[in-house]
């Protein structure tokens, strides 16, 4: 079969394909499913053998995140949070710890909770909280994502918090270049509150008991944070997300096009056949394709 004949067999309803575009036959769709899985496992394998080649480029500025946070608080009539250098340092340590121990969670695999970092830097608090984000494209998107999540919004708009610390750190997480945003909130105990606070960036809170600090790899963590904190994003052009999104849009677009062509030709030729309804498939695949196109990278915790 010539290339042209093969393409016709694949996309044009004809006797050769039982009057149904071959690409829409369940057996071919099943092959596409298998191919997509192979592609994904191949991507995972590539990340394993060539870590840091793929990653996410962002332009998040700590100042703008804090500014946007205070703007959201201002809209609700809440006092702005002031930047606290100790909270900034705790945020840096937390981000460094996440990269050093390769985890995406509030509590590290070793059991260190967020409050351990507050205590490591000597920040004694009445109230404290933490918001995390990764892989967002810009500062505004981070704050909007937190505002869209009830638990993160409660943190961000909590009137008990007085101070903030923030860290935006680039590093490798699960083999992928990642931009982490750690936002810590705190309200110092009265004794601490009397002490003058240097004006440095801060982070965001969550209710937490004054747990005993768990000191461990603090020095290692600090080193990692220092190395990465000030570095601009390495700006890799491709990330696993973008590669997957391109493939998803290509596949769904291909199927959508084949469905449309098949429906049109069958309608014109008035072919009667036994198959699923193209209109239903078009609505379903079209809705999902739109969702995939609108999906942007980024996760919050």
């Amino acid at each position: 079969m010539s290339l042209l004949g093969w393409i016709r067999h694949l996309f044009i309803p004809h006797q050769s394909n039982n009057h149904r575009a071959r690409i829409l036959h369940p057996s071919v769709l099943a092959v596409i499913v298998a191919g997509f899985l192979v592609y994904q496992f191949g991507l995972n394998f590539y990340l394993l053998v060539r870590p840091s080649v793929l990653g996410f480029a962002s332009s998040i500025s700590p100042e703008r995140v804090i500014e946007a946070t205070n703007q959201k608080r201002g809209e609700k009539g809440l006092a702005p949070l002031t930047i606290n250098s100790k909270l900034n340092e705790a945020a840096q340590r937390k981000a460094g710890d996440m990269f050093a121990f390769d985890y995406w969670a509030h509590t590290s695999p070793s059991g260190r909770n967020p409050w351990a970092f507050f205590q490591e830097v000597g920040y004694k608090y009445l109230y404290a909280g933490e918001n995390l984000a990764r892989d967002f494209q810009d500062s505004g998107a981070v704050v909007e994502a937190w505002m869209n999540s009830p638990t993160h919004r409660d943190n961000l708009l909590n009137p008990n918090y007085k101070e903030i610390g923030l860290a935006v750190v680039n590093g490798t997480l699960n083999g992928v270049e990642t931009t982490l945003v750690v936002q810590l909130f705190g309200t110092p105990t009265p004794a601490v509150a009397k002490a003058p606070q240097p004006q440095v960036p801060a982070f965001q809170p969550a209710q937490a008991p004054q747990a005993a600090p768990e000191l461990g790899e603090a020095s290692v963590v600090l080193t990692q944070a220092e190395e990465t904190a000030q570095a601009p994003s390495p700006s890799p052009s491709l990330s696993p997300f973008s590669l997957t999104k391109m493939m998803v849009i290509f596949l769904l677009g291909l199927i959508l096009g084949a469905l449309f062509l098949d429906a049109l030709l069958v309608y014109r030729q008035k072919v009667v056949r036994l198959s699923g309804k193209n209109l239903a498939h078009l609505i379903f695949v079209g809705a999902v394709l739109l969702s995939a196109i609108l999906t942007t990278p980024g996760a919050i915790l």
Partner: protein
């Protein structure tokens, strides 16, 4: 169209799903669940639609199953990567 009501119901279900998908933006777990549930609903819609048209054949149901699996799978992987 004789079965217009069926298609309107499908469009309404998918619109609600799309809306929920948007509302739960960045809540990847919720979005994955929404995608998988929509895939299951789509297969059920196909079964009911073809049964009411007296066209129930396993070959057709298999087609709906494969389409729903393909679509749900690719979006789930996309959300995991996001």
């Amino acid at each position: 169209m004789k079965y217009l009501k069926h298609y309107l119901i499908l469009a309404a279900i998918l619109s609600v799903g799309f809306g929920l998908f948007w509302i739960f933006n960045y809540n990847r777990t919720a979005q994955i669940w929404i995608t998988l549930i929509l895939g299951v609903i789509y297969v059920i819609w196909g079964v009911v639609h073809h049964a009411l048209r007296h066209e129930f054949h396993w070959q057709i149901i298999w087609e709906y199953l494969v389409v729903a699996t393909l679509v749900s799978l690719v979006v789930t992987f996309l959300l995991i990567r996001a």
